[in-house]
């Protein structure tokens, strides 16, 4: 428990949470390591966890018939991986695999959901952080949607 608490308290994503809140979360936390090429999850599977990346990189990808597997985004240190665990139907929208040896902190989805449902203050703090990440990623995605480097017609 001590080790996972330390892991969590060093995550920028969780900066500002109280020791008591971190302590509650640490119950649902474990360290995880992925070797290069490891598939973390597959599109359509049950989404029951998320990760805070510490080292290494993970790609989010999807299979496009005729074009093979396309990478939609690369996530690196300090990034949050996975938010499909937050809402029904709790299924991954994309697949994820480790590009290189990747160290992460893994949190249990149902456990954290249950925590948030019972402790709204912790729930608010976590949701606020998730929303910030989602907004940043959506804005970056919108910029990419503009396809700025394309050949002008």
């Amino acid at each position: 428990m001590e080790a996972t608490y330390e892991l969590l308290s060093s995550q920028p994503f969780l900066a500002g949470l109280t020791p008591a809140q971190l302590d509650k979360l640490s119950y649902w936390t474990r360290k995880s390591t992925f070797h290069a090429g490891t598939r973390l999850f597959e599109e359509g599977q049950r989404a029951d966890r998320f990760w805070l990346l510490r080292e290494g990189h993970v790609t989010l990808d999807t299979h496009v018939p005729g074009q093979g597997t396309q990478i939609v985004e690369t996530l690196g240190p300090h990034a949050v991986l996975g938010w499909s665990w937050l809402f029904p139907p709790y299924r991954w929208h994309f697949s994820a695999s480790a590009v290189e040896t990747t160290l992460a902190v893994e949190l249990d989805g149902p456990g954290v959901r249950d925590l948030c449902a019972r402790d709204h203050e912790l729930g608010y703090e976590l949701m606020r952080r998730f929303v910030e990440v989602v907004v940043q990623r959506m804005q970056a995605t919108r910029v990419r949607l503009l396809d700025l480097y394309r050949m002008p017609s």
Partner: protein
């Protein structure tokens, strides 16, 4: 002002639509260009187009040209031995400081005018603190000068590459170039940033740098408007008070931000 003739010494295919031309003067050469300046390149009987300088050496000049219109297609189509016209160099330069940290942020063809800055940083590496080169492109096949990244890294530059889309054969980063910036350690007081790419990308990148604490005047962007004469006489490249060919293309974000914020200025 008549163009001076240059002969294509070498032609390198960079991407499907972009080539790099190494040119030697047939007559007298133009004045040695500074990093960030541009020239007007003339294809016989077709017309003239502004192209940034990507390098110059041995009395020659290097231009990386993307074929986007009739004239640039003709220029990019020049073969070894062909003659093109060149007027210039025109405009302001990047104004690389004598020291400090450098952030070079390039999107697409925007890497072309920044290559002289990178090469300068490589040649005089000891003068600078951290030198980060962030490169964004549409796909891995659209990256410019990929064979040079290893040399830049070997010289101690922090080269980070990202593309908008890729398949699994790409082991690099996928995402907009500004997200790579987010992961970069920046000492705002010591940093001078050079940003070049599509205008929207420059707006996002410059704002992100300013949000990180870099003073707006230390964030330099390279503007693009309809440059025709190169010497502030034809009026086409106006952006508010600026004649971009004369007062730009490189300007500080402190000057560019309020102008780029006005639609259709």
């Amino acid at each position: 002002m008549t163009p001076l003739r240059y002969r294509v010494r070498r032609r390198l295919t960079e991407t499907a639509d972009t080539v790099t031309l190494v040119l030697d003067p047939v007559d007298e050469p133009i004045v040695a260009p500074l990093p960030g300046q541009f020239t007007m390149m003339y294809a016989f009987g077709v017309g003239e187009v502004p192209i940034s300088v990507s390098g110059h050496a041995d009395g020659g000049i290097v231009h990386t040209v993307r074929a986007v219109g009739a004239v640039s297609r003709a220029v990019a189509g020049a073969r070894t031995g062909d003659v093109l016209g060149i007027r210039g160099p025109f405009g302001t330069d990047w104004g690389v400081p004598p020291g400090g940290d450098l952030v070079v942020l390039a999107g697409g063809i925007g890497l072309a005018p920044l290559r002289p800055v990178i090469r300068q940083a490589v040649a005089r590496r000891a003068r600078f603190g951290t030198v980060a080169v962030l490169i964004g492109a549409r796909t891995p096949a659209d990256l410019l000068y990929p064979h040079e990244y290893a040399t830049w890294r070997a010289a101690g530059l922090d080269v980070r590459v990202t593309v908008d889309r890729a398949d699994m054969s790409w082991t690099g980063h996928v995402g907009v170039v500004t997200t790579v910036l987010g992961a970069l350690p920046v000492d705002p007081a010591a940093t001078t940033a050079f940003v070049c790419g599509p205008e929207v990308m420059m707006r996002f990148a410059a704002r992100a740098l300013v949000d990180r604490g870099v003073p707006p005047a230390a964030v330099r962007v390279s503007l693009e408007r309809n440059m025709r004469c190169g010497v502030g006489l034809c009026g086409h490249c106006q952006l508010g008070p600026l004649l971009v060919c004369r007062d730009g293309p490189v300007v500080g974000w402190d000057r560019a931000a309020p102008l780029l914020a006005v639609k259709e200025l």
